[in-house]
Symmetry: C2
């Protein structure tokens, strides 16, 4: 199979990640919940993972990296832990439902006002509109670092400046960006970065979390056992315990730590981003001029020559064909896995006019080869031209 659905999950993991999970499953106890090498081994693995995530995201304190099973839960935790009844929040039409739905619920149930900055025809965030919407008193700006539909990268440092000028926090959904696009919370002024482990970080499913700048207050979401301060009636508020009730996924985090090591040993985020983008660019250039093929997103950004201008996503449609029909044809005819449909980003589709058709998303990874891309190009040409 040619797997081009890496923006959903990187199906192929480095062998070192698998080996780390296997090792952990044979040796880890429960971190912070026992005496002995098993429990201590778990604590050590988890701490290494925390330090590596902090390093990756430029978070000044490893203890301010709190793990969660995925970025969705991290976003629920952070959004509900920051935004109070009646607050104002600004977000964008680029967002995934993991941002939109927590905010929609707060709007429906707690009187939170939510404004959405729009985008242009290429799916580029309208910074001027964002700037107008972020009025003084806004509690938070919640923004994706890269669209999961178009692969456009957002200038989160600019968003943070706008947020901070109005006294708002800047919360970033880095699900599509972490591991591909340079992120430095301290330098870019990001207050919270939520990430997932199973995409470009090449870790196992069931891993992810939130990195929070020291000084930013996030109320607990899940509460319960922590292995410390058992007699406190409420969740202890030390970091990272406050956001980590219950047994952590030590087995998965061992794999995530290995994924982060793999990235570091192979040139880091810059090399990862460059490879995925070069594969996506090859695909784009092979299909952009095929009659009937529409490619979405900010491809002119590549002309700026920045390696981190885009992620490894190519979003397209073929004539008026339903996106699912095209994905099925790619699978049935060429054994190419892609993702069709709405990608859990309804406002993005509304902005692009693809609500009914959906979009066929092809997304690359570190393991994607030029040969695979060329097969995909041939397949799309054949579907389009017949």
């Amino acid at each position: 199979m040619i797997y081009l659905d890496n923006a959903a999950t990187t199906m192929r993991k480095p062998q070192a990640v698998i080996d780390a999970v296997v090792g952990a499953m044979g040796s880890l106890g429960n971190a912070g919940r026992g005496a002995g090498t098993g429990a201590m081994g778990a604590a050590r693995v988890i701490h290494e993972c925390r330090e590596r995530v902090a390093g990756l995201l430029g978070c000044p304190s490893a203890d301010h990296v709190a793990f969660a099973p995925n970025s969705t839960e991290a976003l629920n935790c952070v959004i509900n832990g920051i935004v109070g009844a009646g607050d104002r929040v600004v977000t964008t039409v680029l967002e995934h439902n993991s941002v939109l739905r927590p905010l929609n619920r707060l709007a429906a149930e707690r009187g939170v006002s939510v404004a959405h900055a729009g985008c242009d025809a290429l799916g580029r965030l309208d910074m001027d509109e964002l700037s107008r919407l972020v009025v003084p008193g806004t509690r938070a700006v919640v923004v994706t670092a890269a669209s999961n539909v178009t692969g456009n990268v957002v200038d989160v440092a600019a968003v943070a400046r706008i947020a901070h000028a109005a006294g708002a926090l800047c919360v970033v959904d880095a699900s599509q960006a972490a591991g591909l696009v340079p992120i430095d919370m301290a330098e870019q002024g990001l207050d919270v970065v939520c990430f997932t482990g199973h995409k470009a970080l090449m870790g196992p499913q069931g891993t992810g979390g939130a990195a929070v700048m020291p000084g930013v207050d996030v109320a607990p979401w899940n509460v319960g056992g922590t292995g410390v301060h058992s007699f406190d009636e409420q969740q202890p508020l030390g970091w990272p315990t406050r956001l980590e009730a219950g047994t952590l996924n030590g087995h998965g985090l061992a794999g995530l730590a290995a994924g982060l090591r793999f990235i570091a040993e192979n040139g880091g985020v810059a090399a990862m981003g460059e490879h995925e983008l070069s594969m996506a660019r090859r695909l784009y250039e092979g299909v952009a001029d095929v009659p009937g093929v529409t490619v979405y997103g900010d491809w002119p950004a590549l002309e700026l020559g920045e390696a981190s201008a885009r992620t490894g996503v190519v979003a397209l449609n073929v004539s008026g064909l339903d996106s699912a029909e095209v994905s099925d044809a790619l699978m049935d005819g060429w054994d190419i896995a892609t993702r069709p449909g709405a990608h859990c980003a309804p406002l993005m589709h509304r902005a692009l006019g693809t609500e009914r058709q959906g979009i066929v998303r092809l997304s690359t990874s570190w393991f994607t080869t030029p040969e695979e891309i060329d097969v995909a190009i041939g397949a799309i040409r054949e579907i389009a031209v017949g």
Copy 2:
């Protein structure tokens, strides 16, 4: 190492569990989020796991098994999804902080009244007090199926009868019981059972969930992407989607399914429970009469001859020694891993008078051998008698 901290996490997993995770990490896409064998493989593995959990717990519908990363999150989800502002909830002093703290928070923030039924000197739940506390109009009774401190098993069917007589729901924390003690939601009248995968079910960390009887309404906790109904502003309410926002831990659930297969192939819950209890009984009988050793819990229950009278926990103290001191001595002198301290169950310790000393918990698994138990007996004797 002699690992006797299985009530925290079963460190040793069946090889089939490890193999299943390895297989999944090389082949699974993102369930419900793509076209192709990867995504379909993930959906298939997750569905198998749902069916096996439903079978294990007597839940009439596999779609009413919703996965979560651990039982803590499942309990947060269920408790917050069932209990509304001003409701009355009855729970017990046997509970873990994963039950107590979500309820304490609701009490502090939403005016929920929470009453705790007590226990006797053996840690046995006071059913008469529970019955008095569950007045008509009570929203839910939340109860553990087995104490994580003493290993006492609770008669959840009797609790359910009391709950239902007052019109209340019966929510069970089966973290310590699932896989060891027979649970049948339909037969026992349990409305919700929360479970974890990484203890007696022998799955990986990062797995667990809630089984909910059809007809019982649980509002969503985490909301976000679901792969279906992307254009709905709020979380879709179909099962199990309503309780499963974000990418599931497919890799871990493949392992959990293998753990459940392993249990089925080795005699089922009855055989598992019997082995763990027989090992715990051997330990109990070897140390109960050692001068200075106090063993907690309802050991007379064994006289009733029921295989499921207790879990594989032996909770003890040695003279006035701090429990951590004893655990450390067991590790340093005999390489035996145990858990000291408060076990995230503050009210249980208050009831047993072990708030300061804590308790040394030794807990067995399917892989525990008589030889290991005999080493532990010798070690405890030596620590006690010197």
